[in-house]
Symmetry: C2
Subunit: 240 residues, 2 copies
DNA sequence: TCATACAGAATTGTATACAGCATCTTATGC
DNA sequence: GCATAAGATGCTGTATACAATTCTGTATGA
């Protein structure tokens, strides 16, 4: 038996799965423009699969909120509006605060310590990294690990979905923040928002942790309208 | 031009949509047993459509959490476990409390009054109705109307999804409550939980409203484990 | 100039076919 | 009697075909 056969736990991922991953990534990053109609034949050709598995993937993505569907007219990229993004930020607050509330009683000291260790490890790169994509990935990863402490798989699932749907705007927002050099001001003296949340959780201070999380996300939510405006301008100008 | 053409806004719903509605209903009500494998050919025959639109509908339902999917083995009904149901109740708390928090500043007095009117109208039937299905529908409807006051379509969407996924267990739970005659005790003197939440919202008392909502749902969450046990026994005995 | 109607092209919606797995049955050896 | 292997069966995964619908571009009339 070959080593590759032993290591291959991927269940020989199907055509639908491959197509799904690709299209989801494309939709998340607005490689389809907002409200753009998706041509099934062209896309299936580009992805090297027939329309049948493509349409199955597209249907999944509609249910996940990445695409929309109109009878007889086919699939479209989701629209991009400040209202929609604000809605998602609020949903994120709901999910993450609830998760935190549950984590206070359900997460062991060891599990919390593991997230602290992750924060210790990644924090240096936070302020030095030139890649906004990398920074955002670390940020998302932290929030997911934190949410997982709640032991509630549904909350984690919802958070993953929401994160992926606001990723593009968050990326723009992050660039905006870096451009304004707000990071530099925050560096050093003040504890990072993540650290504050985690300290409160470790101290089993539910109210404090939730309050810190709420205001942490609230800050970004308030920037959403401007971030969407910038996102639009980025989407409709030649790539840099 | 015929009147029917003018009135027909239904866009001649497609085969996928019809199949989707039917299968979603079946899955919500556990007409498929937990973890049961779904035979596509048999089901497509039963629903009068070919496998192609059926599979598109099934893929949507996987993304919505009603079904699961395993590569090469096909589609299965979701499993039914106390842990999963508790997770969903907690997600519901997160969503509904967040919606309430937003409604405090966003709902007009008139909009709140409309929900009060709905409560006034339906409340008499609450304690008299023999149909648990009707009672649950009224309850769900109230919660949706309340959530809509937040003007956050994403929260409403999430709540709809969660409600549909816990409906079967809630129905069992409701029968359990009625059997114990807890309704009779609550009738009269005490304000209904819905009334308390709505009063707090009308008074713009966000903290009070959220606290009332949280404990309202919490009470049901605590019964989830027993309700799931009963649900299981109902599913695996001859229908009454 | 604008609106409308029509024909052709393009695209979607669904059925069907078939290859490839997974599962079940039966047979065989221990 | 039990475990295992081989063959048969049934189901899933995907491609393709074609019907039905929508879209596009052009021509016609007010």
């Amino acid at each position: 038996m070959m080593i590759s056969e032993v290591l291959d736990m991927s269940k020989a991922s199907s055509s639908v799965d491959r197509v799904y991953d690709r299209v989801r990534h494309m939709a998340a990053n607005f490689e389809f423009k907002p409200d753009e109609r998706i041509n099934e034949s062209a896309l299936s050709l580009k992805l090297g699969a027939s329309r049948t598995p493509l349409r199955e993937a597209l249907n999944r993505l509609v249910a996940e909120g990445f695409l929309t569907f109109q009878n007889g007219r086919g699939f479209f990229c989701r629209s991009l509006s400040p209202e929609k993004i604000v809605d998602l930020y609020e949903a994120r607050q709901a999910i993450e605060c609830e998760a935190l509330r549950r984590s206070v009683t359900r997460a062991s000291d060891e599990e919390i310590a593991a997230v602290v260790a992750y924060l210790d490890e990644t924090e240096p790169r936070y302020n030095t990294s030139k890649s906004t994509v990398e920074v955002l990935e670390m940020d998302e990863d932290f929030h997911i690990r934190l949410a997982e402490l709640s032991k509630n798989t549904e909350l984690v699932r919802l958070l993953r979905n929401i994160n992926d749907r606001i990723r593009y705007v968050r990326l723009v927002d992050l660039k905006m923040i870096l451009a304004k050099k707000q990071i530099a001001k925050n560096k050093g003296a003040k504890l990072s928002a993540h650290r504050v949340i985690l300290n409160a959780l470790a101290a089993r201070d539910g109210e404090g942790a939730v309050a810190a999380m709420r205001s942490h996300i609230e800050r970004r939510r308030e920037e959403a309208t401007e971030a969407v405006r910038i996102a639009y301008s980025q989407l409709y100008v030649p790539a840099d």
